[in-house]
């Protein structure tokens, strides 16, 4: 039984590895492992190439985390803390619009959720501390906010809306990690279905009119809770006419 093919949007980023320093197409392996663990086959979609024809060959697509989106896309001036990635913006907004148009199953993670909102005509808060008065949505890089001994930063609750896809998938309440300083302000054509109860920051958006279009503000791929990845794989398998994907051992 073949596995659904899941495209993951990748970075084109200057990186250092094993004594090399160069521009690479890349993505943290946690995303790849999350797709493989939930029965999909991951391929990386590089941002340099702005065509969308590759979508015709995929069964689903996940938009990954990363830098900030250029606020010009929703008509705002950049905040001093906004750090944009123009090549990814161009490619991913085009891919997102095309994927939604063809009703390809879509999962947005962190920046990916923000790409969904902006592609849907919405807008972002450019720097959450200015809006909610604290920086607890941003854990220190390299930390695990869900670890038992973790600091208060980067871990919080999420409550979901009754009757939503998010509620069916995740229940009414969960605790998540958090590595972001921007967040969805206006969800555009999407419906917000999950919030941080402490400050009402939007944590989940979805489009109930589509087969599967879900965005989450946290990083499930860095946790053992891969329910949203499993849901993407299942929607992708269904689209491809495959049986329910088998979870990897």
């Amino acid at each position: 039984m073949r596995r659904p093919l899941i495209g993951l949007t990748a970075y084109a980023q200057h990186v250092q590895y094993s004594g090399n320093e160069l521009m690479a197409g890349m993505l943290p392996m946690t995303y790849v492992r999350a797709v493989h663990a939930t029965g999909g086959r991951a391929v990386l979609i590089t941002p340099d190439d702005p065509g969308t024809d590759v979508l015709e060959s995929l069964d689903g697509i996940m938009f990954s985390g990363g830098g900030d989106i250029d606020p010009a896309y929703w008509g705002a001036e950049p905040h001093p803390a906004t750090d944009i990635d123009p090549a990814r913006d161009t490619a991913e907004l085009m891919l997102m619009k095309a994927a939604l148009e063809m009703d390809l199953p879509v999962l947005g993670v962190c920046r990916g959720q923000q790409v969904m909102a902006v592609a849907g005509g919405g807008s972002l808060h450019q720097h959450l501390p200015d809006v909610i008065g604290h920086d607890r949505h941003r854990a220190a890089p390299g930390t695990d906010p869900l670890a038992a001994d973790a600091a208060a930063y980067g871990r919080h609750d999420v409550v979901t809306k009754t009757g939503s896809r998010a509620h069916a998938l995740l229940g009414g309440h969960l605790t998540v990690n958090s590595f972001h300083h921007q967040a969805v302000d206006d969800p555009g054509t999407f419906t917000p279905t999950g919030w941080c109860p402490d400050d009402q920051v939007i944590e989940i958006i979805e489009d109930p009119r589509r087969t599967f279009a879900l965005g989450v503000q946290w990083h499930p791929e860095r946790t053992g809770d891969l329910r949203v990845f499993a849901a993407l794989a299942e929607a992708a398998a269904r689209r491809a006419g495959l049986a329910r994907p088998a979870l990897a051992a």
Binding site: V15, Y17, A24, R41, L44, D53, P141
Partner: protein, 228 residues
Amino acid sequence: MRPIIGITTYVEPASWGVWQDLDTTLVPHAYTEAVTRAGGRAVLLPPDDADADVLRLLDGLVLSGGADLDPALYGAAAEPLTVTRPDRDSAEMLLTRAALAADLPVLGVCRGIQMLAVAAGGALHQHLPDVLGHEKHRPAPGVYGSHEARFTPGSRIAALMGDDREVHCYHHQGVADPGTLIVTGRAEDGTVEAVEDPAHRFVLGVQWHPELYSDQRLFGALVTAATA
């Protein structure tokens, strides 16, 4: 719709921005750019040895450079300077064999030519300086060697390279036995620089790095074969 060209990737701890030593799937961007300029749509293939299903997506395959192959794959014991990546080996061997069986166009670069040779039943020299007595194929860490290669008249690689036969390489292992492939290019010191398989539509391995210096000849040929 453009032909889709899969590129195999490295998995290494990488650092960027605020992130340090994060396990990352990556490939030098030069490969992606070479495919894009040649008119293909690049997708990157993280190693995965569950099956070769991903070939369904592809019109062509680039086996990228990287670490040494596990000598066990050609029945040898590892020598002291051999550095392997078992996760890449198992995934790429599976992919290579399936691609050859499906007659998918394949371009092997550096580690990729070595993968093609070993998949064809061949074997590698584990440390060329021990064989050649010089380090011109990898002069120093991070420094590419450059030299002229000689190609077999009438071969695919001879036609593609024409009169400009300068190549840029960075490797310490090399093809010792090409297996069922045909050697169609060598350096002056005898090092295997190119292999082909005339029994397939397009199977070409080169020991050098055609993705550098915007050399479009080989990627162009791969994309043309993938379009056919």
